[in-house]
């Protein structure tokens, strides 16, 4: 049978910081953690190199070879999943209390060749690229080339998609006008509600069996399809229960030979927990965490949906168990915290599956964007914070790990003490938790048609996007490069980087006399691009419904069981497709520059400006500096720019929002997310009229362009609040802060007041990046991008860029010393 991997003894090859984990070796040799167990688990997780495991691909390929054509697709998918759960190598490491890994050991990531099949070259790139490497043994690459690649040639989802898309789409896609999420991974973005804490998987299975029994083959034309769907769901329930039982067997076996009686007892406890969940509903705090973790693993093993899986309002889900056990004396606060730490580390053990093709070369991120929602409101609208919420903040502060991401949810009902506690964690400078406003996102969801109760149980997953947890498929379809649309408009449909026609001929911009003429052409181009994007996204959507259904995910998302339809096929209660719009700041500032300097003040002719842009401002530094220093830019509470920003935002909403996505009344909505895509979009974009040079990143989310906001955070917040954010499915505001702005407890409180102010004005999300020295050094190299860096010292205030070198050096030294 399969060899059981128990522990890994391995020296780190490189410092963990390189892979995005926050590890400060100076603290102590083993790293942070509340006790030696957590320290060891954390150290192992942080220092293990991500690797690729080909086991899943081997199992799947063998199963498909043997069985393709014998069953309906949903049943085939479920049986493949069951087969893998039966055979997969288990891992039960030393010290572990929460068990289960997707791969054969921590940070071993399977591939999903049915969607996208890595080539030998892809593996070599992943083995050797500078950032975010995934190591694959040479022997495994050879096995893959022999066993896996030949079978999937021409059969992958990605090939099906690319063989059918129209040429106009391809041209726009290759120009970088948008990306397509579903060509790399399965559509995802899923978060759970509280139902798995109320009923075990056997209970779901019983409902499914009942539905099968009640099928009306005489009258229901969909009866056969539903039957196949339900059979598949039922098999996937068996798969996950079996997976847990195998862990119970393993733990019992290990307990028999374990010399340490304490650990032997722990192993027997693990076995007991795995016998109970996920088959039955959890009774204890620990079972509740393990229940979620098995469901999490099931969904991310079945398919590789974007943004992994998300427990949703995890603190609210765990609170009843915590309170019950604390009262009964069967759990202490520290034990609860230790279990949470174990869970946190488990998530960190699961880096995102690596991409294939050209994108494999680009460094991405290991983050798979599981985003724990903390705080917020309950289903009845009351405050959702509890002692577990504070415990989670402690865990985040102590562990300093990349995953899971975390967010705090601050409604008007959330106590200041919680916001304050969260702000203290933010000050540590890990970049999280991010902060969300339930009062606004609940309205966003209600506007989209969700019931109030479902909206309140919803929240944010991935980065900033909202969804009704446990009841919605809200699929991100891809990013839209809004500044690129302006670039194409300014070249009447041609991509100036390639000379290829990628858009509509909207007229020679050199003849435009008024802002409305220019803006009208931009909007026309925008609608054309969005139309292209939606046609293909809908097509791909159907391909997933047909060829890559997700029966296990469908079990845990309402109302897939009731409707007898898959998660990808309109089974969920709500079905949303998002298009994520990038570069609002860049496009607004570019339009503002043209409006002010060309159309209103006549400082430059349109031809002169466009020629300068085409030459990447070569020889036109005076013009570029004039534009950058003399144009009202978005993010300064200046209506000249902000009105343009609002207009662009409203037109993005008009172009995207409400388009049907052909799934059970589902609609497209927009959100303003960029993740790291603003960097890629910048690379495929020439210089822009706001003075941005070719190839540089565009603005992220709804944040101002880098360095454009020079009036402090309150002005930024005011500008952002002019957007009617309720019409989005999420906006994103990143703010950079120097540690000196958060020195005293009072400063942290004021940060909280800033957040409350933004949320009062209708903000959806805000995130603070506490600037470190690397950023200050970067600011010395590229001052244009960092004009917003405020330096505050008692009674003194200045912009970092305005200080001379020596003083900048002093600030850098101070920042070093001010680390918290």
């Amino acid at each position: 049978m399969f060899e059981q991997v128990k522990t890994i003894h391995k020296r780190p090859q490189r410092s963990a910081a390189e892979e995005g984990n926050f590890y400060m070796p100076r603290e102590n040799p083993i790293g942070p953690g509340m006790n030696p167990r957590i320290q060891r688990l954390r150290k192992l997780s942080v220092e293990t190199d991500p690797t690729i495991s080909i086991e899943r691909a081997l199992h799947e390929t063998a199963f498909y070879r043997e069985n393709y054509g014998k069953y309906s697709i949903p049943v085939l998918r479920a049986m493949t999943f069951l087969d893998h759960c039966q055979k997969k190598t288990l891992y039960l490491g030393a010290d572990e209390l929460i068990v289960g890994e997707r791969g054969p050991k921590p940070k071993a990531i399977p591939t999903f060749p049915e969607l996208t099949c890595h080539s030998v070259e892809d593996f070599h790139v992943l083995n050797t690229r500078d950032m975010q490497r995934y190591l694959t043994a040479q022997e495994d690459i050879e096995t893959y080339a022999r066993e896996v690649i030949p079978y999937w040639q021409g059969r992958t989802q990605r090939e099906r998609i690319f063989s059918h898309v129209p040429e106009t789409w391809k041209a726009a896609y290759e120009a970088g006008l948008f990306t397509e999420f579903m060509e790399q991974r399965a559509p995802g973005h899923t978060a759970l509600d509280s139902k798995i804490y109320r009923q075990g998987i056997l209970e779901f299975k019983r409902q499914i069996e009942e539905n099968i029994g009640a099928l009306d083959y005489r009258n229901d034309p969909e009866a056969t399809d539903k039957a196949e769907q339900w059979k598949a769901m039922s098999i996937s329930c068996d798969a996950v229960i079996l997976f847990a039982q195998r862990h119970a067997d393993l733990a019992e076996g290990m307990a028999k030979t374990e010399p340490d009686p304490g650990r032997a007892q722990e192993l027997r406890q693990i076995a007991a927990v795995c016998r109970r969940v996920p088959a039955h509903r959890p009774e204890t705090f620990r079972e509740a965490i393990q229940m979620y973790w098995f469901v999490h693993l099931g969904t991310i093993t079945e398919l590789n949906g974007w943004d992994a899986m998300n427990p949703g309002h995890f603190d609210q889900h765990l609170t009843p168990f915590y309170e019950k056990e604390l009262a009964a004396g069967t759990l202490t606060r520290d034990e609860a915290k230790e279990l949470l730490c174990c869970f946190w580390i488990k998530v960190n053990n699961h880096p995102a599956p690596p991409k294939v093709g050209v994108t494999a070369r680009e460094s991405g991120t290991y983050n798979d964007f599981t985003n724990i929602n903390i705080g917020g409101v309950k289903g009845d609208g009351s405050d959702g914070t509890s002692e577990v919420s504070y415990l989670m903040l402690d865990v985040i502060e102590e562990l300093h790990i990349l995953q899971p991401g975390s967010s705090v949810h601050i409604s008007t009902k959330t106590p200041d003490s919680f916001l304050h506690a969260a702000a203290r964690v933010i000050r540590q400078g890990h970049g999280y938790p991010s902060i969300f406003n339930p009062d606004i996102y609940i309205r966003e969801m209600v506007r989209q048609g969700k019931s109030l109760a479902d909206a309140r149980e919803g929240g944010c997953s991935g980065c900033i996007e909202v969804g009704a947890f446990g009841k919605e498929a809200y699929l991100l379809t891809g990013y839209l490069n809004v500044p690129k649309i302006l670039e194409v408009t300014l070249n009447s449909g041609i991509d100036p980087l390639t000379g290829r026609k990628v858009g509509l001929e909207t007229g020679n911009p050199r003849d435009f006399r008024t802002f409305d003429e220019l803006y009208g052409a931009f909007v026309e181009q925008l609608h054309f691009v969005v139309d292209q994007k939606i046609r293909v996204s809908n097509y791909i959507d159907r391909m997933f419904a047909k060829y890559a259904p997700a029966p296990f995910l469908s079990v845990v998302i309402d109302d897939c069981i009731g409707r007898g339809r898959d998660y990808y096929d309109g089974g969920p209660r709500y079905n949303t497709s998002y298009i994520q719009c990038c570069g609002l700041g860049t496009v607004t500032d570019s339009l503002a520059a043209i409006k002010k300097h060309v159309l209103e003040e006549g400082r430059y002719t349109m031809a002169a400006l466009l020629d300068a842009v085409a030459r990447n401002f070569d020889g036109e530094e005076i013009m570029r500096q004039t534009i950058m220093n003399r144009t009202p830019f978005f993010g300064n509470d200046d209506d000249f720019a902000d009105e343009i920003g609002v207009r662009v935002y409203d037109d993005l909403v008009a172009a995207i929002d409400g388009n049907p996505n052909i799934k059970e009344g589902g609609r497209y909505h927009l959100n303003m997310l960029s993740t790291t895509c603003h960097v890629y979009f910048g690379k495929v974009l020439g210089a822009t009229p706001n003075g941005r040079l070719a190839g540089k990143a565009i603005s992220d989310g709804t944040s101002p362009s880098h360095g454009a906001d020079v009036n402090g955070p309150s002005a930024v917040v005011k500008s952002l609040s002019k957007l009617d954010q309720v019409k989005s499915g999420g906006t994103l505001l990143n703010q950079r802060f120097l540690p000196s702005l958060l020195k005293r407890d009072e400063d942290i409180r004021k940060l909280g007041h800033l957040v409350r102010s933004y949320f009062t004005l209708g903000g959806h999300h805000i995130q603070f990046n506490i600037v470190d020295n690397a950023t200050l050094l970067a600011a010395q190299q590229c001052p244009d991008d960092y004009r917003d860096l405020l330096v505050r010292m008692a009674g003194y205030s200045d912009y970092f860029n305005d200080m001379n070198r020596d003083l900048q050096q002093e600030i850098i030294e101070r920042t070093e010393n001010e680390a918290f």
């Binding site: 005076i622 004039t626 309150s714 007041h753 008692a794 009674g795 002093e810």
Partner: protein
């Protein structure tokens, strides 16, 4: 190149004086999200002009009551726009950047108007009460959420009495919390008039020895101390601010005398903010084209700051380091 209407585009500070009947004054900066100048999130307005001339001043542009040119060589790209535009032919290019001839410069601002990088800027602009109130209103949500408001700093706000009193009155009508940061070097009647329109004073105390005070700040401290006692007797809310400069006022005797004086003031116990000196403002002196000899001054050590806090504590006063 077409010149800019720079003062107006910097944030509508320069409204047509013919339209507004409100008084106007000379300011050199308006800072949003000010978190070190009083309670909550504040808007700090810096009045230009100060009767003192403290050797350690970290806002040297605040001292003169006139508009001044500031030039930041690091930002200059040598485009020579200012040289061409200067009506007095007062700018010339040197290997180290633009040099402005002080005998020719009338501070008309033409060079700053045409400068594409803002390397040349004018410090000081006329603002009306209406302008400032409009900016304050934009920040209202932050004031309300944080218990903040407007802080009037400088320079010395009391050097522009009509402007100050009118601004305070207008802010008061709008229920905006008002803080005045003052040297205390002003006519007593004026200070009392301002006190009727101010919720909180940030009152600077530099040193107790009058001879040394004059040596380091240019003025005697007699009136400052008298005014502080008078102000305290009216029941005004006052926080004491003490810059601590190694080699100037960090001796035990001075700190003790300061603490003793503050402890003897009538009314509620005063909070004390100790502001450690830093020579970070060097760049501003450079931009003003002024020489600044900081050799006699140094940053106080952490121990010195802790000791100073302890001295105040011995007099029953709560002192904290920082604004």
């Amino acid at each position: 190149m077409k010149p800019f209407r720079s003062l107006s585009e910097q944030g509508n500070f320069f409204s047509d004086p013919g339209i507004s009947i409100m008084p106007s004054g000379l300011i050199f900066d308006v800072k949003k999200y000010a978190i070190n100048d009083g309670p909550g999130i504040r808007l700090t307005v810096f009045f230009k002009g100060c009767p003192l001339c403290c050797a350690w001043c970290h806002n040297p542009e605040s001292i003169s009551s006139r508009i001044q040119k500031m030039y930041n060589g690091d930002r200059c790209i040598g485009c020579m726009a200012c040289i061409e535009a200067c009506p007095e032919s007062g700018c010339r290019l040197t290997p180290t950047g633009i040099i402005t001839d002080p005998r020719r410069c009338t501070c008309c601002g033409t060079c700053a108007d045409v400068c594409p990088t803002r390397a040349s800027e004018m410090s000081g602009r006329i603002a009306t009460v209406a302008d400032l109130v409009a900016i304050a209103e934009k920040e209202r949500v932050f004031f309300e959420q944080s218990g903040g408001g407007v802080t009037i700093s400088g320079g010395e706000p009391l050097l522009q009495p009509d402007f100050l009193v009118s601004l305070l009155g207008e802010l008061g009508l709008r229920s905006i919390h008002r803080t005045v940061d003052t040297t205390g070097f002003a006519r007593s009647e004026l200070l009392l008039k301002v006190a009727q329109r101010t919720e909180l004073f940030l009152y600077d105390l530099k040193m107790m020895d009058s001879r040394r005070h004059k040596q380091w700040t240019g003025v005697d401290n007699g009136r400052i101390l008298e005014n502080l006692r008078l102000l305290a007797s009216t029941g005004a809310c006052i926080n004491i601010r003490m810059p601590l400069i190694k080699g100037v006022n960090d001796d035990e005797l001075n700190i003790e005398q300061t603490a003793s004086f503050v402890a003897s003031l009538p009314g509620a116990k005063k909070k004390v903010n100790i502001l450690p000196y830093h020579n970070i403002a060097q760049g501003k002196y450079l931009r003003l084209g002024e020489k600044h000899d900081s050799s006699a001054m140094a940053e106080p050590s952490v121990e010195a700051l802790t000791d100073a806090v302890a001295v105040f504590a011995a007099f029953g006063l709560e002192a904290i380091v920082g604004g």
